[in-house]
Subunit: 118 residues, 2 copies
């Protein structure tokens, strides 16, 4: 599977709202997830930890809608834009606009890095 | 100047159509420009060579409109989305949709990497 094929398949699952399935299917066991923030969630490594981070996020946000655009490909990396309408638990409904940069090695995503619209 | 400030200023120039000024102002002398293609233009290094690549591009494309979205920031990197309506010389008018990933060191952009919508 080329990076282009993986990028298309991964993005198609995201477009269908199947974010967890997309991760389970295409993350490497050594996946590293990097957020644009300080603190303990800034860099999370390993499938179990990244899974737990996702589970926390889904449990603490109500997703009203997601728009997925991409993938955009270069070599062993690709990007996807996510525009989300979400309400954090105990927070105000808000628009999120982010780019995710994925790095692929041997047919699996080894790193996801999130960039926030400013 | 933080990466966030640089990203905002660079993107503002692009939004005004001042792409060459944005490059001249914020590229490092050692800027490396990476395209999602094979061949001699895949990796161009150094300000003079990247300038020449830009000059070639502008001479060979008529830009009808550009939409600039961003910046999206994470650490010392930021991304911008460019949606363009262009006609290549001797080619058909087309829509281009790309993400650019910029890496900053010591207040200058040392790498630009382009991802193409697929």
């Amino acid at each position: 599977m080329t990076t282009h094929e993986l990028a298309k398949a991964f993005t198609a699952l995201c477009t269908s709202g199947e974010f967890e399935k997309a991760g389970h299917q295409y993350w490497s066991d050594d996946i590293v997830s990097i957020e644009a923030m300080d603190g303990p969630m800034a860099r999370v490594a390993g499938r179990a930890a990244v899974d737990a981070k996702g589970a926390w996020w889904y449990a603490n946000h109500e997703i009203h809608s997601v728009k997925v655009e991409g993938p955009y490909v270069n070599g062993d990396q690709f990007t996807v834009r996510f525009t989300m309408d979400v309400t954090p638990k105990d927070g105000a409904r808000m628009a999120m606009d982010e780019h995710a940069l994925y790095t692929v090695r041997e047919g699996k995503i080894v790193e996801e890095r999130f960039f926030y619209g400013m």
